[in-house]
C-alpha cells in the first residue's frame, strides 16, 4: 500500500525539487547564513545588501542570477572581471547564505524609530553612553569589547538596536567573556580568546594577553551573559536612534 503511494510521491518530489528549493529555509539555516554573510559578504554588499550598484538583496534584486542554484554558483565561483571574488564556501554554506539573502526580503530594514543623527550619536557614544570604556572606534577607546570601527556594514539596524537594548539576546562565540580566580585569590574577567581541556586564554581590560592552566586556578567560568549593560532607560529613544545611525555610519578605514 505505502509503496505505490510513495512511488508517486517520489516522482512528484523529483519534479518539483528545484521549485521547493527556492523557498522554505529553516530559521537555523537563515541564522547560520547571516553569520557567514556578515563575515564574508557584508563588507562589500553592506549589511542591508544594497551597497553594490544594481544589487539590492533586501529587494530581491540580483544582476546575474534568479534561482537559488545560480546564486550559489556565483557565491562559490565569483564573477570574473568584477569585484565579486570566488568564495571559499561549500555548497552547503553557500546555500545558507542564499537562505539569508532570501530572508532579507522578508525582514525589511526600515530603521524603526526613524533615522537618527549620526553626529549626535557620536557624542553619546563618546560621552553619556561610555561606550569607549569597552569598545574602540578609529583607534580610540578600549580593545576589550568588539571593535566598532567597521560595524556599519556588518550589522543591520535592527541588530544594533537589539544589542543596545538586550545585550544578552545573542552572544556570538567570538564575543564571550570568562572569569577566572587564581590560587592567590585574584579575580580576572576578560574576553575569551581561546580554551582547551587544560588551559584558557583571555584578553583583559588592561589589554593583556593572558593564559592560564586550568588546574592552577581556583575556579574558572565562561560567562553566559554579556558584560555590556542594557541602555533601555539609560538612553532616550532619540539617543538610541542617534547611536544606531552613528554606528551604521562607521565603515572603517579604506
Amino acid at each position: 500500500m505505502w509503496r505505490a503511494g510513495v512511488v508517486l510521491a517520489f516522482a512528484v518530489t523529483v519534479a518539483v525539487a528545484s521549485l521547493v528549493a527556492q523557498h522554505g529555509y529553516s530559521p537555523a539555516e537563515v541564522a547560520e547564513g547571516g553569520r557567514l554573510f556578515q563575515a564574508s559578504c557584508a563588507r562589500c554588499h553592506g549589511a542591508d545588501g544594497d551597497a553594490v550598484a544594481g544589487v539590492n538583496f533586501a529587494r530581491g534584486q540580483f544582476r546575474r542570477a534568479t534561482t537559488d542554484d545560480e546564486i550559489v554558483r556565483i557565491i562559490t565561483a565569483g564573477i570574473p572581471g568584477t569585484g565579486m571574488p570566488p568564495g571559499n564556501f561549500s555548497e552547503f554554506d553557500a546555500g545558507r547564505i542564499v537562505a539569508y539573502l532570501r530572508s532579507m526580503t522578508a525582514t525589511p530594514t526600515a530603521s524603526a524609530g526613524g533615522p537618527g543623527d549620526a553626529a549626535r550619536g557620536k557624542a553619546v557614544v563618546e560621552g553619556k553612553g561610555q561606550c569607549l570604556t569597552c569598545h574602540r572606534v578609529d583607534g580610540a577607546g578600549s580593545q576589550l569589547g568588539p571593535d566598532l570601527n567597521s560595524v556599519g556594514p556588518l550589522r543591520r539596524t535592527g541588530e544594533l538596536q537589539r544589542s543596545l537594548l538586550d545585550p544578552d539576546a545573542e552572544i556570538v562565540d567570538d564575543n564571550r567573556f570568562a572569569r577566572v580566580v587564581t590560587r592567590g585569590g585574584e579575580t580576572i574577567t576578560g574576553r575569551l580568546l581561546n580554551q582547551d581541556s587544560f588551559s584558557i586564554q583571555l584578553f583583559d581590560a588592561k589589554e593583556r594577553l593572558l593564559s592560564f592552566t586550568k588546574s592552577d586556578l581556583r575556579e574558572y567560568a565562561i560567562l553566559r551573559s554579556s558584560p555590556m549593560p542594557s541602555y533601555r532607560g539609560t538612553l532616550s529613544t532619540e539617543e538610541l536612534a542617534d547611536v544606531v545611525s552613528y554606528l551604521r555610519s562607521l565603515k572603517g578605514r579604506p
Binding site: 510513495v6 517520489f10 518539483v16 525539487a17 529553516s26 539555516e29 581561546n194 581541556s197
Partner: protein, 553 residues
Amino acid sequence: MTGRVLKRGIVGAALVASAAAFNSSWTTVVAQVSFDRLLRSAEEPQNWLTYSGTTMSQRYSLLTQVTAANVKNLEQQWVFQAQSLEKFEATPLVVDGVIYTVQAPNDVVALDALTGRAFWIYSHVPSPLARPCCGRVNRGLAILGNTLFLATLDDHLIALDAKSGRLVWNVTIEGARPEAGYAFTVAPLVVKNKIIIGVAGAEFGVRGFLAAFDATTGGELWRFNTVPGPGEAGNTTWAGDSWKRGGASVWVTGSYDPDLNLTYWGLGNPGPDWNGASREGDNLYSDGVVALDADTGTLKWHFQFTPHDEMDYDSTQVPVLADLEWQGRMRKVMLWANRNGFLYVLDRTNGQFLLGKPFVKVTWASGLDDKGRPIRVQSPTEEGVVIFPHAVGGTNWMSPSFSPRTGLFYIPSLMDSYATFPRRAVEFVEGRVFVGAFPVGPIQALRGGPINRRIPEQGYGAIQAFDPKTGTQKWIFKLADLTDSGVLSTASDLVFAGSREGYFFALDARDGSLLWKANLGGNVASGPITYAVNGRQYVAVSAGNSLFAYALR
C-alpha cells in the same frame, strides 16, 4: 619467529646483502604474516597486525611496560611528517619492527619503527575524478604473507610487496566508478586467503557493497550488496527503485570470529541522508550490522540500529567482539556504541539484542523496544527541528576499546551535541551530493580549528567508560573540544586517546583520571597503537599530518 620481541633488522630483501655487509650483527627476519598469525595476533603484542589490533577489534594490548606509575616518563622518540595536508586517519600496522601506514591520499609508507625513518614509499595517485565526501583520506592497510593491501579512493585494490614496496597486482573494482562517488577509504580485513573491503559514497547516492578478493590474484570471490536489489531479501524495505541510490556504505573495517567463521561489518547511512520521503521503509541494511559467512559472503544475520534513518547516523563503527559472562553463562557478544547515541550489546552468534541504553543525550528516540528497535519520536521537518545528537553522532567512526581486564568499554564520545535538521527536497544527479539539507548546529562536524570559544552546552568531547553488562557509565573524562580519536587500552590498565585540540593523553583505565598528556598540536583523527622493538614499548599516534612515537625515557 612469533610470540617474542624480535631484534631489529627488517630491511628490503634487495638490501639484505649489502646491509649485512655493512653490519654483520644485524639479524635478518623474513616477515611471514600467515593468517594463523593474524588470528593469534593478541599473543604477539609487540606487533599491530590488523587495523583494530586483532580480528576481535578490541584495541587492547598485552604490553605492560608502560604503567600508571611510569607513564609520566613517556618521551617523544620520533615524528614522521606526512607530505600531505589531509587528516591522518590511518591506523598503522607494525610488523616485526616495520611500520606500514598510508600518507593521504594513497601513498603507502614503510617506516623503521625504532627511528621513524622511511624504508620506501609507494605512491598511488588517485584519479582526480574521485570524490570522497569528507576528505581524501585513507584508514590503513592489511597484510597477509609478504603482501600489503590498499583500497584506493579511485576504486582500485592494490597489492604491494611488503619488503620492496613493489606492485604485485592492481585491480579495478567492478561497478565502482569514482565519478559516481564510489570511493574506498577503509583498511581491508584479511580472512583466510581473502581481502575484504567495502565501498564508501552514501553522500552521492551509491549502492553500497562488501566484496572479497583473492589475496594471490586480486580476483573477486564474493560480493554482498548492502542494499538488496529486486529478488533479494530486504529489497521491499525500499520504496520503488530508491534502492538504486540507497547508500549503506562501508568505510570502517569489520571484525571476524574464527569459531563462527562470521565477518561483521557496520554499514553507513541510507541516501539521501536527511530526507527519507523517497525511500519509505526500513531501508535495510543501512545503519545496521551484517554478519556474513566469510567463505561465501552469505548473510547469516543482521541487526539494524536506526531503521529509516533521516539523521545520518551511520553504523560505521568497528564491531567490537568480546566473550562475556552474561547473566550466569558465557556469551559471545558484540559491543556497539552507535552514532545514533545508543550503546548496544548483541549476541554475535545470531544477532539477538541483549541490551541497549543511551550513552549520550538522545532525543530522536524515547528508547529501544525489547527487540532493540528505536521508539522514534523525532524526524527532520520542513521548518527544522532540534535533535540530539548532532548528525556527527554520539560517536562516529573512531574506534572504541574493550579491556577484558577491567571489563569496561571505552567510547570516544560527543556529549550534548545537537543540530537543527531541516527536511529539504533533493534530486539525484550522478556524481553530485545527494543528501538534502545539511543540519545546522554549533559544532563543526568534520574539522575544527585552533580556536574554541564554545560553551559546553553547545557540545563537547569525552572519553567514557561503560560497563557493558549493565549499560551504565563508570567514568567520564571531559574535553573542551570534540574528539575524533580512537581509544587504546592496555593490560597495565592504561587508556590512551587524543583530542581535536591536539592532546594525546593517558588515563587510568579504572577511574579515568588523567595520568599523562602531551600537546601534539594537531587533531588526533585515528586510533593510537602500541608496539615493541628490542623489548621497549612504544605508543604511536597520528595528530595533524604527522605520526608520533613515544617510549619511556
